[in-house]
C-alpha cells in the first residue's frame, strides 16, 4: 500500500462556467460532497474559476489553509491546466500539485438533460481527482536549450512567407520543397489573382527572389524530401533525402573540382534531348517537356535544369551538348542524405485537386472541352501553352459561351468523392475566370452555375458585384450532367435554375469545373513522421481551431496554408506569418520547459530483465551496472513520457512521474470502492 508521506490537505474548487456547468448539474451538491472526502480541507465554488478573482481564491486558500494539493473541477485540462498550475504556483505550491476534474467538456455539455446523472458523475470526477491529488508529488520541469534554426516544409507561397519571416527574425531556416525543383508552388501556375487581378507571377517572383537572396539565413533545398524526424521541440533531428537531379550547379561542380563548371542555364542540353513528354505537373499535361527541363521560366534557384529520370533514356546527348568545360550533367547522380538540426518546424505542404473525372456525369476526360479551373489558369496565362489565348482543346476555336460548374466535388457527401467541405476559393477564382473571358474575348459570355456564391473576404463581395455588372450570367443550380454533341464537340449543360424553378439545358462551347481540393497523398506519411493528427476530412489538425490555429498538439510543429484546410492566398500568407511567429518564440526564448513526465527506474525493484527496452520507441532506456546489479536507466533527454515501459514492466519497477501506478490505482479504487477499504 502506498503511504502518503504527509497528511493530505486538499482544496477543491468548482467552477460554474456561467451556466455552462451550473446549468446542468448541482454545484452545491458537488461542493458538499467534496467536503466529505478524506483529505479535503476546503471546498469552494465560483462563477468563473479561470478569472482573476477565481484564481485568487486558490492562491488565498493555499496560504490560509496550508494546502498541499489543489483540485479544480471545471473545463478540460487541455484548455486551462496551465492557468491553474500557474495559480497553484503563485500560491506557493509546486505546480504539479494540481489536478483537474473535467466536469464541463466531459460532463455538463454531454449530459445536458440528465441533472442527476451529471451531478453524480461530477461527484465521482471530483472524488477521482482528489484521490490523485493526495498522491501528487513535487516535480521540476526540465529546461532544454533550443536550436537556433527552423525547418519549413513546402515551398509554396505559404512556406516561402514563413521562411522569409523566420529568416528576417534572424533564424537559420531550411526551406525544403519536395517535388518541383523550384519554389513557387501552386501560385506560380496561376495567371491572375482575385480580387485585385494582380498577376500571380508578378507578386510571387519577388518573394521567390528574396528566398533565393536570403542566404545565409535561408538554406533552400529543392527536390528534397524529409526522410526521418527524430527528437522533440527545440531539438529535432531531420534526415533529408536530396533527390538526384542529374545536373550540377556551379557550387556542386566546384565541390567536384570542376572549376568554372556547372549549369549556367544555357539550355543546349534540352535542345538535343530526344525525349518529349507532356508536362503534367506545371502545364497540366497541355504542353510538351523534355526529359531535361526547367520547371518554368521564373524558377528559383534560377535557370537550373533537372533531369526527369523516369523518362530519361540516358542517351548521353545532353552530356555532349553541355561540353567538357561545364560538365554539368551527371547521368549517374544518386539521392544523397543529410541530417539537419532544428528547433521548430512548419508544415506548409499544400494540397491536390480531386480526380474530378470520378464525377462522370460532368464528363471530364471524356469530353475534350470540359477542363478544370487549374487548366483554365494555364490556358489564359500569357506564359502558358497557348500564350494566353483561351482556346477549345477540341478544335482550337475561341469559346464564346463558357459554363462554370461550381462545387464540382466540394460539398459532396457521395461515396467515392466524399468531400463534404467547401473548398473555399473556387467561387472567387471562377468569378475571376469569368472576368478574364469577358476581358479577353469580346462578346463572350460566362455562365456560372452555383449553389451559393461565397465571397466572404475583403473586397470579395464587391468583386462579385463587378463581375455581375460586367455581364456574367449566374444560374443558381448545381449542374446535373453534361453531354457532348459528338459532331460540334459543344457541351449540353443540364441543371435546374432553382430561382426560376425551371430546368435549363444550355449549349456551351467549353465548361470549366471548379474541382474540389483535397489533402496531398503524401500528407499522411508526413503528418505521421511529425506526429500531427488529422481532422476527419484528412487535413492536418491544428491544436485549437480558434485559439491555436497555427500550432499542433506536438510541441514545436506548426501549420501553414491549405494543408490545414482550404484557404486562399491571403489567408495562407497570414497563417504562414502566424506560424512563423509562433515557431520563432521558442527559438528566441532559447529554451523550452518539458513536462517532467519521465520514467524513472526504481533500482531496488528492477530485476534487470531488459524487456522494457523494446517497449521504448525512442531508445531512451539502457541496461547499466549499478552497485553490482544490472538495472535499467532512463536517459531523460530522450524520454517523452508516454509510459509504455511503465505499463509493461513485469516487476512494477518503473515509476512514471505524475502518472504513477499508485496514483492511477488510487483513482480506480476511489471510484469503485468509494473510500471503503478493499
Amino acid at each position: 500500500m502506498a503511504e502518503t508521506k504527509e497528511e493530505s490537505r486538499i482544496g477543491v474548487f468548482i467552477c460554474h462556467c456561467g451556466t455552462n456547468i451550473a446549468g446542468s448539474l448541482s454545484i452545491e451538491e458537488v461542493k458538499n460532497y467534496a467536503m466529505t472526502l478524506d483529505g479535503v480541507i476546503v471546498a469552494d465554488e465560483y462563477q468563473y474559476m479561470c478569472s482573476t478573482p477565481g484564481q485568487s481564491k486558490i492562491i488565498d486558500a493555499i496560504k490560509e489553509h496550508n494546502l498541499n494539493g489543489i483540485v479544480v473541477a471545471a473545463c478540460s485540462p487541455r484548455l486551462h491546466e496551465p492557468t491553474f498550475r500557474t495559480a497553484t504556483e503563485e500560491g506557493g505550491l509546486n505546480k504539479f500539485r494540481f489536478e483537474m476534474a473535467n466536469i464541463r467538456d466531459q460532463n455538463s455539455w454531454v449530459h445536458m438533460h440528465d441533472w442527476e446523472g451529471a451531478t453524480e458523475k461530477a461527484k465521482d470526477q471530483v472524488l477521482i481527482a482528489v484521490a490523485k491529488a493526495r498522491m501528487l508529488e513535487d516535480l521540476q520541469p526540465k529546461s532544454v536549450p533550443v536550436e537556433h534554426s527552423a525547418l519549413v516544409l513546402g515551398g509554396g507561397v505559404g512556406g516561402m512567407q514563413a521562411a522569409l519571416d523566420l529568416a528576417s527574425a534572424g533564424i537559420k531556416t531550411y526551406l525544403v520543397e519536395k517535388a518541383p525543383p523550384t519554389v513557387g508552388g501552386r501560385m506560380s501556375q496561376l495567371d491572375k489573382t482575385f480580387p485585385t487581378l494582380d498577376c500571380s507571377q508578378c507578386i510571387l517572383t519577388p518573394k521567390m527572389v528574396d528566398v533565393g537572396r536570403h542566404p545565409p539565413n535561408i538554406e533552400l533545398k529543392t527536390y528534397t524530401e524529409v526522410e526521418k524526424v527524430e527528437g522533440y521541440i527545440g531539438n529535432f533531428t531531420i534526415t533529408l533525402r536530396k533527390k538526384g537531379r542529374g545536373v550540377l550547379d556551379p557550387t556542386e561542380a566546384l565541390e567536384r573540382g570542376i572549376v568554372g563548371g556547372g549549369c549556367n542555364g544555357c539550355g543546349d542540353c534540352a535542345e538535343v534531348c530526344p525525349v518529349i513528354k507532356p508536362n503534367p505537373p506545371f502545364e497540366m499535361g497541355m504542353a510538351p517537356r523534355k526529359a531535361i527541363y526547367i520547371y518554368h521560366p521564373q524558377v528559383m534557384p534560377p535557370l537550373q535544369y533537372t533531369i526527369d529520370f523516369d523518362s530519361c533514356v540516358k542517351c548521353g546527348l545532353c552530356v555532349e551538348a553541355c561540353g567538357p568545360e561545364k560538365r554539368a550533367i551527371d547521368l549517374d547522380s544518386v539521392d544523397t542524405f543529410e541530417e539537419i538540426r532544428v528547433g521548430t518546424c512548419i508544415l506548409a505542404i499544400g494540397y491536390d485537386y480531386i480526380p474530378i473525372e470520378q464525377k462522370m456525369e460532368w464528363g471530364y476526360k471524356q469530353f475534350d472541352n470540359v477542363i478544370t479551373g487549374l487548366e483554365f489558369e494555364r490556358l489564359i496565362c500569357a506564359s502558358g501553352p497557348t500564350g494566353g489565348h483561351l482556346i477549345r482543346p477540341s478544335d482550337g476555336q475561341t469559346p464564346m459561351k463558357v459554363g462554370f460548374v461550381l462545387c464540382a466535388g466540394s460539398r459532396d457527401n457521395t461515396g467515392g468523392v466524399n468531400k463534404p467541405y467547401c473548398s473555399r476559393f473556387c467561387c472567387m477564382y471562377s468569378l475571376k475566370h469569368a472576368h478574364q473571358i469577358m476581358e479577353k474575348i469580346p462578346g463572350a459570355v460566362p455562365y456560372i452555375f452555383y449553389m451559393d456564391i461565397r465571397s466572404f473576404g475583403k473586397m470579395y463581395e464587391e468583386f462579385y458585384y463587378r463581375i455581375q455588372n460586367e455581364g456574367a450570367k449566374f444560374i443558381r443550380g448545381r449542374v446535373a450532367n453534361i453531354l457532348e454533341d459528338p459532331i460540334t464537340k459543344n457541351l449540353i449543360v443540364n441543371a435546374e435554375d432553382t430561382l426560376l424553378g425551371r430546368p435549363v439545358s444550355m449549349e456551351m462551347d467549353m465548361v470549366v469545373l471548379a474541382a474540389a481540393v483535397q489533402p496531398k497523398p503524401e500528407a499522411e506519411k508526413i503528418r505521421q513522421m511529425f506526429g500531427v493528427s488529422k481532422s476527419q476530412d484528412g487535413w492536418l489538425l491544428e491544436a485549437h481551431p480558434k485559439l491555436n490555429p497555427c500550432g499542433t498538439t506536438t510541441a514545436g510543429i506548426y501549420l501553414a496554408g491549405v494543408c490545414q484546410g482550404p484557404k486562399d492566398i491571403p489567408d495562407t500568407v497570414a497563417q504562414a506569418e502566424g506560424a512563423a511567429s509562433a515557431a520563432s518564440i521558442p527559438i528566441h526564448t532559447g529554451e523550452v520547459q518539458l513536462e517532467p513526465y519521465f520514467a524513472q527506474c526504481m533500482d531496488e525493484i528492477c530485476a534487470g530483465c531488459g524487456m522494457c527496452l523494446q517497449q521504448c520507441p525512442y531508445g531512451a532506456l539502457d541496461l547499466v551496472e549499478k552497485n553490482g546489479r544490472t538495472v535499467m536507466e532512463v536517459t531523460e533527454a530522450k524520454c517523452k513520457g508516454c509510459g509504455t515501459c511503465g505499463g509493461f514492466c513485469p516487476g512494477g519497477a518503473i515509476k512514471m512521474q505524475h502518472f504513477t501506478s499508485p496514483q492511477i490505482c488510487a483513482q480506480i479504487d476511489a471510484f469503485l470502492l468509494k473510500g471503503e477499504d478493499n
Binding site: K359, M360, E361, Q366, N481, L483
Partner: protein
C-alpha cells in the same frame, strides 16, 4: 437433370408470361444452351410492381416480395428473373430485409399469418447478369451458342433503370460513364450495337406513370425513340418486359396521340438470343408484338 447445369428458380413476373410469352419461352430455351436451367417457381405472384404498388404501401410491397422470396427459399435455390422491375422488388427487398432487422421483423410478423418466414438464405440475380458473369456463363459462351448470327443489324441497347440504379444500392458501378456490357452481349450475337444520345435515360413507363398519365409517359418514350432513330438502329433491345411494353405498344400509342411513326421493332434480349440460336419467330410469338418485326427479321433470316 443434367449434371453441369446451374439451376435457378425462375421468377416470371407478370408482363413476360402474360403479354410477351416469347420472352419466357426464349429465356428457358436459350438459357439451357448456356448451361442454366430455369425451374418454375410455383405459386409466385406479381413481384409486386415497385413503382405502382410500392407507391401505395411500402410495407405490403416488402411483404409480398418477401413471400415470393420465401417460395424460393423453400426450394433452397437462388432466384433469377428477366425484368428490371421484378429485380427492384425481389432483389432489393431481399437485400433490405437481410440488412434491416426492424423491417425484417415486421415482414415476418405478416408472413407468420400465412405460415412463412423470411430467412434471407438465397440470392437474386437478373438472368442477363448471369449471362455476363464469366463464372456462370460469360460473353464467349453466349457467342459460341450462336448458330444464326444477326449480322448486318444495328441494335440500340436500352439498359432501363432498376437493374443499375440507384448505383449505391446496386453492384454494377457508375451509370454516368455509360456501361458497355450489354453491348458486348449484343455484339456477341453478331449484331452491331449502336450508341445514341442519353442512352441511360428511363423509358418513361415506371413509377405508375404509364397508368397515371399515358401522354406524359409516352413523351419520355418518344424522346428516347427520336434518339434511337437518329443513329439508324434496326431494333431496340432491353432486358425488361415492362420497358419492352412501353417501347412496343408505346409506338402504336405514340402514333395515335402524336402522329409520329417509328416502326422500330423492340425485342427482349432473350428473344434476340433465341433468334441467334436458331429459334423461329413463331417459337418466340413475335406476332404478339405491336410493332411488326418483319423488316428486322428479313435482315437476318
Amino acid at each position: 437433370m443434367s449434371g453441369n447445369m446451374k439451376q435457378y428458380a425462375f421468377f416470371l413476373g407478370c408482363i413476360a408470361p402474360n403479354r410477351y410469352p416469347g420472352c419466357e419461352a426464349a429465356a428457358i430455351k436459350t438459357s439451357e444452351k448456356l448451361g442454366i436451367e430455369l425451374l418454375p417457381l410455383k405459386g409466385a405472384s406479381c413481384c409486386p410492381a415497385p413503382g405502382a404498388f410500392g407507391a401505395i404501401d411500402l410495407k405490403v410491397w416488402y411483404a409480398l416480395a418477401a413471400r415470393n422470396l420465401v417460395l424460393a427459399e423453400e426450394m433452397n435455390m437462388d432466384i433469377t428473373l428477366i425484368c428490371n422491375g421484378c429485380y427492384k422488388s425481389i432483389w432489393e427487398v431481399n437485400h433490405i430485409l437481410k440488412h434491416n432487422d426492424e423491417l425484417r421483423d415486421g415482414v415476418n410478423e405478416v408472413l407468420a399469418e400465412v405460415d412463412m418466414e423470411f430467412k434471407g438464405s438465397i440470392d437474386v440475380w437478373h438472368l442477363i447478369e448471369l449471362y455476363y458473369d464469366e463464372k456462370i456463363c460469360g460473353v464467349e459462351k453466349v457467342r459460341a451458342s450462336v448458330t444464326r448470327p444477326l449480322s448486318g443489324t444495328k441494335i440500340a441497347p436500352h439498359y432501363g433503370c432498376h437493374l443499375l440504379k440507384p448505383k449505391k444500392e446496386r453492384h454494377f458501378g457508375d451509370t454516368e460513364n455509360p456501361p458497355m456490357w450489354f453491348e458486348e452481349l449484343i455484339d456477341a450475337l453478331g449484331a452491331e450495337s449502336v450508341q445514341y444520345r442519353n442512352k441511360m435515360q428511363c423509358c418513361g413507363a415506371g413509377g405508375g406513370v404509364r397508368g397515371f398519365d399515358l401522354t406524359h409517359s409516352l413523351d419520355i418514350t418518344n424522346e428516347k425513340l427520336i434518339n434511337v432513330q437518329e443513329v439508324g438502329a434496326d431494333a431496340i433491345t432491353e432486358f425488361c418486359p415492362f420497358c419492352q411494353l412501353q417501347y412496343d405498344r408505346g409506338q402504336v400509342e405514340i402514333q395515335e396521340k402524336f402522329g409520329q411513326a417509328y416502326n422500330l421493332p423492340v425485342l427482349h434480349y432473350n428473344e434476340l438470343l433465341g433468334l441467334a440460336q436458331g429459334m423461329t419467330p413463331q417459337e418466340l410469338a413475335l406476332d404478339l408484338h405491336a410493332v411488326d418485326c418483319k423488316p428486322f427479321l428479313e435482315k437476318i433470316l
